[in-house]
Symmetry: C2
Subunit: 275 residues, 2 copies
């Protein structure tokens, strides 16, 4: 197959490198900033490039790897260029807004939202890796009427690429889960380092600080879009988290040893069970 | 020197293993459960054992590695056994309550509170490591009138043992910093996994979930004591964290793109600067 990667940043270039490493498909590549495309070509990360509409006409599967709010406009702008009956997918961290917007349009290709679940605290082509997805989950969110063989083709490609796990679900469930597994984790890492004591941590910190604060290194522009595109689910998670923190505070202030211990035993039990 | 390790759990046995690996001091060991002491002796983790009061009479430096609330009573119970002018220290995660209580007593040895800043999600002798402290900080909190050469002896031992960094401060500053670097990190990890969505995370989670939830595996008994012994500083950190989370919520609910982005840029800037 011809696989087209539009957007050769951290996520897109890592997809390209993974395709080159683990499959025999031809990797077509395109990036808005031309110097990046040329670098990817020189590095052998992509097999070919060209005018984006020409590449779309050749591609059996296309991945659009842009910031959330740029994906739908770009696809619609080029909607007459994609190969008939081909699969067009994306890699962004929210799915409902994108998929339900795409669903409104009559198209002669199949859009299936996707989310390869891996990232780094750094971004851009130069930080992309051929093993970023080795232990990662590939989630895709077809429409209710997406033909089964199209979803299977996308999932099959993810399996060939070496994703550790593939999940097929609907966009709403994806976004609800991601609000918990990813978005709130970033919100709390940021909230954590905003403590007035954070700048003095050296000498007093160890693994807990390191791990909990890691994802405070955040691409503010991109995550602002992701958060605002998943408002309802994320606010629910913030509310749950704050309510649990207030339980800790209440028990600590009251010196309620038994209740405080029970709360931690519950947290410990859940973490042991769910990994 | 003869170094006595009382309590051969994760922390104590790791201290013993580190002493054996990186120094030539004689390591005396004692554990309330005798089978553990015998195992440590067989494993060569300690050089000798015996009646605890006899060992204390021989030890130049003693580390008491018990749960927070057991440390002061144990030291006072054996206060006449410790070698005259020797150093008695501990390894527990809060210092004010312990040090200010010890300060009230006239003793013929020198108590200097200590906190080797490393841990694991698992506990007990069998999980102890000879490299647990390789990248760790050794914090000690002498009294205002502790002789300088005694503090230097303890710090010197920590340096011989290979701690990456030694810090001398007062108990109150230690506890304030630890409320931020360690305690609130455990509170938020626990609060995080108490979300109703946590049990469904498989397939939807990656590094953010893994890192932020790691320390939810917590020894509830021990941390209950640590939290209640550091109430004021910990509650201040919970309040700061909740207030920052509410700023996120407010900006998300209002769709305030600029304020939300500014908040994350601030978090990102701090994290980049402070590491």
């Amino acid at each position: 197959m011809n696989i087209l990667i539009c957007g050769l940043g951290l996520i897109g270039a890592s997809l390209a490198k993974t395709l080159k490493k683990n499959t025999n498909h031809t990797v077509l590549g395109w990036n808005r900033t031309k110097s990046v495309t040329e670098k990817a070509l020189r590095d052998g990360v992509i097999d070919r490039t060209g005018e984006v509409d020409d590449l779309m006409r050749e591609a059996d599967i296309t991945f659009i790897n842009f910031y959330p709010d740029a994906i739908v406009p770009f696809i619609l702008e080029h909607k007459d260029s994609f190969k008939r009956d081909s699969i067009v997918s994306d890699s962004c961290g929210i799915k409902t807004k994108i998929c339900r917007e795409m669903e409104k349009h009559k198209l002669n290709f199949y859009f299936i939202g996707a989310h390869p679940m891996a990232g780094r605290e750094v971004s851009g082509y130069d930080n992309s890796l051929d093993n970023l997805y080795d232990n990662a989950s590939f989630i895709c969110t077809p429409f209710e009427d997406t033909p089964r063989n199209k979803t299977d083709a996308l999932v099959g490609l993810a399996q060939q690429m070496g994703f550790a796990r593939t999940v097929v679900t609907n966009p709403e469930h994806h976004d609800e889960m991601i609000a918990f597994t990813s978005q709130i984790a970033h919100v709390l890492a940021c909230s954590y380092v905003l403590s007035p004591l954070a700048p003095m941590h050296a000498g007093y910190s160890a693994g807990s600080y390191r791990d909990v604060s890691r994802v405070a290194r955040i691409n503010a522009e991109m995550w602002t879009q992701l958060f605002l595109d998943n408002k309802e689910a994320l606010v629910r998670e913030i509310d749950d988290l704050v309510s649990n923190l207030m339980k800790f505070k209440y028990n600590i202030v009251n010196g309620d040893t038994d209740a405080l211990k029970a709360l931690m035993e519950e947290g410990n039990r859940i973490k042991e069970e769910i990994g």
